[in-house]
Amino acid sequence: MPSVFGGGMLANDYLRFRDDLAGKGIIFSFTGYVTESILTALGEALRHKMRLDDADPQVTRKVFSVFVEQVQNIIRYSADREEQGAAEPLALSSGMVTVGRDEGRFFVVCGNTVTPADARKLEARLSELARMDRDELRKYYKTKLREPPEEDSKGASIGLIEIARRASEPIEFDFLELDAQRVFFCLKAYI
């Protein structure tokens, strides 16, 4: 006897979508406008899930830290941003953040559009970080903490070093030009 729930287009489409994510080891993926409250809520869900899975507390702390820095980078830097009127000085930044597990290791990926000028700066910074070992990253972080903040940096130069320090191998990054004004920027860190 056929099941009452045969499944139409809707369930089939979204099941495939869900299975595709699960197949890639993705614990959760968020795409859209990110705010500080979304960061807090997703961060709490992430830590809760990792506690339930008996993840090493040290690893949980590192994954959380990489997650926070990546989401805060999207909030600060995404070029997909809707500035609101002067009455409410709030900007909504759009991007994606994905947390998953691959052969026992956690990864955090973020993606957002940036301006070509920011893309060039990011590429230079990330290439520099990729060449550093653990001790060099630790020293570099400290040097940056002592320095006055760079113009227009809003603190992200240290955030990228934090991500590189918590990652268990050099962070991967990639850029794809969308049009003359926008570049899609992607960053992946394994912990």
Binding site: Q58, R61, V68, I75, R138, Y141, K142, G155, I158
Partner: protein, 135 residues
């Protein structure tokens, strides 16, 4: 000069902060990852720097037990430590206790790295095991 006390409960993204100018005691504990760390730490920095502004004055004891902070909070902490070390150099008695949970390598490393910037103020690293009470 009268000095306002600070007694702020922790929020989702900001730590518990306690400043008792009468007792010369400043405490901060928990997690710190506000997007705008400067606006969270700004008023705290103002209070603390006013307290140590004079070359002479009561001792200040700072106790910090952070479980996690983001990079912009790290920057704010560094600014705070530089201000405290400057005051100690001018003759104020300042002690900083940095507490971290046993096994939390990240907070231990931060403590070690911050300690390098103190010469005149005393900076102590304290490991806690789960059984001991927090500040």
């Amino acid at each position: 000069m009268t000095m306002d006390a600070i007694n702020q409960q922790a929020t989702d993204r900001t730590p518990r902060v306690l400043f008792d100018p009468q007792a010369g005691r400043f405490e901060m504990s928990g997690e710190s990852y506000p997007e705008d760390a400067a606006s969270f730490f700004g008023p705290i920095m103002e209070q603390l720097s006013a307290f140590v502004a004079e070359d002479q004055g009561p001792a200040l004891h700072v106790a910090l037990e952070m479980a996690y902070f983001n990079s912009s909070s790290a920057k704010a902490l560094m600014n705070m430590f530089q201000m405290l070390e400057d005051a100690a150099e001018r003759g104020r008695e300042i002690t900083v206790d940095w507490y971290y949970q046993a096994g939390d390598d990240t907070m231990e490393e931060f403590g070690e790295d911050f300690s390098e910037d103190f010469e005149c103020a005393e900076f102590r690293l304290n490991e806690r095991d789960d059984a001991s009470t927090s500040i």
